[in-house]
């Protein structure tokens, strides 16, 4: 355990873990612990190096969330997730793909900047989560006492100024209109036409294991042909990274921004060993 006990006031009640299991959303649709929370949880609780496996788990966890909550699909949340996922994919890709020879210095700097920003956000999120935990401790202690609210005894009521003095029936009616007129509903984005993404990283890996052996050198573009959803492409990319890590495929890139080339190098009957790491 790397986390000092004193730094975890809130105790992390277990809800972020629910993201991975996909269980907590049904009851907590308005309190979704966002991508930043999810990252925080993965890094601090599971102690994973994101380089290892957890990015795919993040995607799977998020997809599980989308599955469970398509009705309330939140565009800002999804965008936020894509930004974070893209940054992480970028970070990982740099370390997996052959040497930094052709990487621009500016790009490298931009990457560091993104990583620092992400780190700053994680630190901030952890700070406020623990502060929230401390508020809860105070609230719990305070809830053991109830205040006296009995108010004035009858004999003093006659003395109390008549609050209705000067109030007319018209004032009352005006007050009613103030509270009864509906507030304009918040603008909503029509998302009904957006089909939920159903593919998990595990499924994408299985698909690749079925297609790649014997297919020779293929491009990543080829493997994502026909995909219109960015999330699907990200999932597919994670699956490719996973297979690369397992030593089952080789990756190549002829030039910067060129097509990513994928070739199967595993034994034809290689037993794929990574599926269990997607269970969260």
């Amino acid at each position: 355990m790397r986390v000092a006990p004193g730094n975890s006031v809130c105790g992390d009640g277990g809800s972020p873990a629910g993201i991975l299991r996909g269980v907590s959303y049904a009851v907590q649709t308005d309190v979704y612990e966002g991508p930043v929370d999810l990252l925080l949880h993965l890094i601090l609780k599971d102690e994973v190096d994101l380089y290892e496996i957890s990015l795919s788990r993040i995607v799977d966890g998020f997809l599980a969330y989308l599955d469970a909550a398509v009705a309330a699909l939140d565009l800002e949340l999804t965008t936020e997730f894509l930004v974070i996922a893209a940054t992480l994919v970028d970070l990982k890709a740099r370390r997996l793909l052959p040497g930094p020879v052709d990487v621009e210095v500016d790009e490298e700097l931009a990457l560091f900047e993104q990583r620092d920003l992400l780190l700053a956000r994680l630190i901030e999120a952890k700070t406020f989560r623990d502060a929230g935990g401390a508020l809860e401790v105070l609230a719990q202690a305070a809830s053991r006492s109830l205040p006296r609210t009995a108010g004035l005894e009858e004999r003093f009521l006659a003395l109390a100024p008549d609050l209705l003095a000067g109030v007319t029936p018209a004032d009352l009616h005006a007050a009613w209109l103030r509270v009864s007129s509906p507030a304009p509903p918040p603008p909503r984005v029509q998302l009904d036409h957006v089909a939920p993404v159903k593919v998990s990283v595990g499924e994408a890996v299985e698909d690749l294991v079925a297609r790649l052996p014997g297919a020779g050198l293929v491009t990543f573009r080829f493997l994502t042909e026909g995909m219109v959803d960015r999330m699907e492409v990200i999932v597919r990319f994670l699956a490719v990274l996973e297979l690369y890590k397992q030593g089952l495929i080789e990756l190549g890139q002829a030039m910067t921004f060129g097509d990513l080339e994928v070739s199967w190098v595993g034994e034809p009957d290689s037993v794929f060993a990574g599926v269990d790491s997607y269970d969260g």
Binding site: P161, L163, P169, A170, L172, W176, R178, V179, S180, P184
Partner: protein, 188 residues
């Protein structure tokens, strides 16, 4: 050393808004109603002996704390100087909801106002403008509130029928637009 039962009685009576019947206290403290009366009498005697500014008395069939009669002049000044002299917009809105939607529960008022209404409702009840008129027959049996006779008198009308009718409400163009947008957004 005060007994647990006596301390528990003090705690309950301190948070009670109404006189608490000895039977109820007996049940909560797990002692007999006779013992409750003994305990409360002992407490009342102790406050008297300590020359406290409050008393514990038996009124309307129950026990309650109240201010010591000697100190009425101070309490009167508190009532005159320390209490709001005019109805706040929040209080008037709450009163309007009760007037037009009665009988209505506190939870329903909170939903319409969009904020917790407990404190305001308590004040309105205390001032006698609003009163309990029944219980919701559904689960939970929430207390239902309505406006009082005094409310009508102070407002200068004979009956609720004399209030400006709700039908006069004609939504403005922005409200109509909002409603249409709301309906459109639900289409699939």
């Amino acid at each position: 050393m005060a007994s647990e039962a006596a301390r528990a009685a003090e705690a309950i009576l301190m948070v009670a808004d109404e006189p608490v019947e000895p039977q109820l206290l007996a049940q909560l403290l797990e002692v007999s109603p006779v013992r409750v009366d003994e305990l409360c009498e002992e407490l009342a005697a102790a406050y008297e002996a300590e020359d406290r500014g409050f008393v514990l008395v038996r009124v309307a069939g129950g026990w309650r704390f109240q201010s010591h009669p000697d100190l009425a002049p101070y309490v009167e000044r508190f009532v005159l100087d320390g209490q709001p002299a005019r109805m706040s917009p929040a209080a008037l809105e709450t009163l309007a909801i009760v007037a037009y939607k009665q009988p209505v529960s506190r939870a329903q008022v909170a939903v319409i106002r969009g904020v917790n209404a407990d404190a305001v409702m308590r004040t309105l009840c205390q001032r006698g403008y609003v009163e309990e008129v029944g219980r919701d027959p559904g689960p939970g049996q929430a207390v239902l509130y309505g406006t009082s006779r005094m409310f009508l008198e102070r407002l200068g009308v004979d009956s609720l029928a004399d209030l400006p009718p709700l039908g006069d409400f004609v939504p403005g163009p922005e409200v109509v637009e909002a409603l249409e947008r709301g309906l459109g957004a639900d289409e699939t």
